[in-house]
Amino acid sequence: MTKPKVASDWLCGCAGCHMSLLDIDERILQVVELVDLRATPITDLKEPDKDGVVVGILEGGIANTHNEHVAKKMRERCKILVALGDCAVFGGVPAMRNFFGEEAALKRAYIDAESNDSEGKIPSNPELAEMTRVRAVNEVVKVDLHIPGCPPHADVIFYALVELAEGRIPEIKNDMLHWH
């Protein structure tokens, strides 16, 4: 039996969920025994396989048109889409800006912040992705499994990966369930 292919990517997050994934430590060897780890931010391959993967994992919320594009591509190319961590599940810390609006957030970051000099200006370039309201992944594409947590605990990630590798949908509840 071939090992199921797994790919991951990060959107508007802090990389903490991927760090938590790495916190499974030596158990990562068990994971690679069970799955074929493809494109991830921590491997060389940068895009999920064109002919598809079984499990696609997304960290981070959707904060701009580029995030949207990445999320849609992952959805198209995977059978089971996992939203990993509070940003992917709820929008998370970046979603705080939704209460103020994009314009106010940009102004605060690039002009008003104490660390800016007097020449601070909001970057604008046609090559830059367009900023949007921060959305949970399931607001943009269908999500099959939500693993909340900020970040989800390494044990939860390990449990989920093993279950997925063995063809089951993990049940995230009781001690596994933390929104932080």
């Binding site: 599940v89 929008g91 998370g92 209460f99 949970a136 909340p148 509840k173 929104w179």
Partner: protein
């Protein structure tokens, strides 16, 4: 009695019982959010929906009275789906992002209920409507963004505390929790009792002191009596890593059932006085750090005995310490004066009247919870002894009549039906007139009106303050007793500090007069010394102070012994209405600091006194003004 079936279980309950209570009585769990055992059911959150056979829709169990033959199901798919949907709606209404909330992961009832339903996410996205955070209050932060509109706080503020500060403005999704007519909480009529914070199921009302300092799962709980006044509320002192995190009212306490005032809840955490951490002995005019042994020998050589020795103890100390103190200084050292820092002012006349009558004449504070007329004499229950004040204030909308007699500004008087002027010092004639008004009527409309109200009352209470207790002679008190007997009223006197009544029982009630004392021993504990005391001690050549904190008093003393503060010691307290309660040690004392008991025993040893440690027998010897009951 009626019979109903819940989840196949037949349950027999009193008519009028809600389905929720019936289920609870049968040991069945129905999740709730807006419901709280201490306030009237509201049916606002819809989390407790149940399936009732024959009913058109799901019904909220917290407000639904059980009926005979009712068949209820609490765990059908329909119910579970509704529950999840209700939670989703609540989450989507405001800013319920757990990762930046101080009550997340254990202390949030909303989050816990979602966990119970195995919710990994929300299907509805939040409404991104921001609300201003009100951080104007000294202790409390009001964040409408976290509010689930359950109205536990408004019900607690009104129904439990009788303050009616919190309320709601606007409707639906715009509903806004506000203080008074939407003024900043810090400028409102809020009295900082903190009940709203304690009852809030989410992070909408949090206290500044404990936010982010430790979650429920990370703190230790120490339930015990509050030592800030003589009411005797039960508190839950939360500590973490040997530090005070928060103080809560104990919901299960018989008297205060969760209520506390600002003095009991918030102010103890604001104490920023410097601790005495080592014994100090005066040498060449200077107070210098010393060992316990050096301090003891300084006491052995400097403290006189018998005539010329004055010993005073704070009534904030446990009864065990007060009794030990008395045994050492009165029986052992035969000191000329052995008394409390209160000098029995608020208790001596009352205690001697009890001695004379031979039985108690005062009542429990619980009488105030269900009364129809309250006469308050020289006491502002909004300012001091606040919790019994809550009992009175919260019944005012129910029509109880309040009569306030005082010569000073009295915030409770705003709510009074009759306001009488009672000038301090004229208690005797005032009460005599009131008695006359009750018996025959006199030429004073206000007094007559008060008398009529008292006479018509079914369960009247008379509460009197320190001023009356201090100024009244035996005759005045006899008149008061006669009034109480005539109108069949419960008498409640607030006395002084936490252990004022214990001091009275031990006979620590002599007045401290300048008398050319040679030496003095002050058992201060964590009390604040008055200016008057500091001044008087200046005349005494040798002063020993047992104190937790530096003060002018310790600065002037010749020997200072470092002792524990309230949270570092255990002991017993006799409330104003005779409930004997205990407080346990919640914190470890700093190294080198002893409890007052340990320090007293050291003194007894160095002065070769054999103290009597049977404090309880000594406490019970005297006829109390109110029946003593061990809690």
């Amino acid at each position: 009695m009626i019979k109903l079936t819940i989840d196949g279980k037949t349950i027999e309950v009193q008519e009028g019982t809600t389905v929720l209570h019936a289920a609870e009585a049968a040991g069945l769990y129905i999740p709730t959010l807006c419901n709280h055992p201490q306030v009237t059911p509201y049916g606002g959150c819809r989390l407790c929906m149940v399936d009732v056979e024959g009913a058109r829709t799901l019904q909220p169990s917290c407000t639904l009275p059980a009926t005979d033959g009712m068949v209820v199901k609490t765990n059908t798919d329909k119910v579970i789906n509704a529950r999840k949907f209700v939670l989703t709606l609540i989450f989507s209404e405001r800013n319920h992002f757990c990762m930046y909330c101080p009550v997340s992961d254990g202390d949030c009832e909303l989050q816990n209920r979602a966990y119970d339903e195995d919710m990994t996410h929300w299907d509805l996205q939040p409404n991104w409507q921001p609300f201003e955070v009100d951080a104007s209050h000294e202790f409390i932060i009001l964040d409408n963004n976290r509010c689930i509109l359950c109205r536990r706080c408004t019900r607690a503020c009104g129904e439990l505390v009788g303050n009616f500060t919190l309320g709601f403005e606007e409707r639906g999704a715009d509903s806004l929790l506000v203080a008074d007519y939407n003024v900043p909480l810090g400028e409102s009529t809020c009295i900082s009792c903190g009940t709203c914070v304690q009852i809030c199921p989410t992070g909408a009302l949090i206290d500044r002191q404990s936010a982010y300092q430790g979650k429920e799962t990370e703190v230790d709980h120490n339930i015990g009596v509050c030592v800030e006044c003589s009411v005797g509320c039960q508190r839950n002192v939360l500590t973490r890593d040997n530090r005070l995190v928060r103080i809560e009212g104990e919901w299960d306490a018989e008297l205060n059932h969760g209520l506390l005032c600002d003095k009991g809840r918030f102010l103890p955490l604001e104490d920023d006085r410097s601790r005495v951490l080592t014994p100090l002995v005066r040498k060449d005019g200077q107070l210098k750090a010393a060992t316990w042994d050096q301090a003891m020998s300084a006491i052995a050589s400097g403290l006189t005995q018998g005539n010329g020795l004055a010993a005073l103890a704070s009534t904030r100390l446990p009864a065990e310490d007060l009794a030990l103190f008395k045994s050492i200084f009165a029986d052992g050292l035969q000191a000329e004066l052995v008394t409390s820092l209160e000098e029995g002012k608020t208790t001596a006349t009352l205690a001697s009247l009890a001695d004379k009558i031979g039985k108690p004449f005062e009542s429990r504070q619980d009488e105030l919870k269900d009364t129809d007329v309250v006469l308050v004499l020289e006491l502002d229950l909004v300012e001091e002894h606040q919790v019994p004040g809550f009992f009175i204030k919260r019944q005012i909308p129910e029509g109880i009549k309040l009569i306030v007699a005082d010569g000073k500004d009295n915030r409770l008087a705003e709510k009074a039906k009759v306001r009488l002027h009672l000038k301090a010092g004229q208690e005797g004639s005032f009460l005599a007139d009131l008695l006359k008004a009750i018996e025959n009527g006199i030429e004073d409309n206000d007094l007559n009106q008060a008398a009529e109200i008292l006479k018509a009352a079914e369960k009247p209470c008379i509460v009197y303050g320190k001023t009356l207790a201090e100024n009244a002679d035996e005759k005045t008190l006899t008149t008061l007793l006669e009034i109480a007997q005539t109108v069949n009223a419960a008498l409640i006197g607030v006395k002084g500090e936490a252990n004022s009544m214990a001091a009275a029982q031990l006979g620590l009630e002599a007045a401290f007069k300048s008398n050319g004392y040679q030496s003095a021993f002050i058992l201060l504990g964590d009390d604040h010394p008055s200016q008057k005391l500091v001044k008087r001690l200046e005349e005494i050549p040798f002063v020993v102070a047992q104190a937790a904190y530096y003060s002018q008093l310790t600065g002037n003393a010749d020997v200072v012994l470092p002792v524990t503060m309230w949270a570092e010691q255990s002991g017993s307290y006799l409330s104003l209405d005779g409930r004997l309660q205990t407080i346990g040690k919640a914190l470890d004392a700093p190294d080198g600091v002893l409890t007052s008991t340990e320090a007293l025993l050291k003194i007894a040893e160095i002065l070769s006194v054999e103290p009597d440690t049977d404090w309880k027998t000594n406490l019970m010897k005297r006829v109390p003004t109110v029946q003593i009951e061990e809690a």
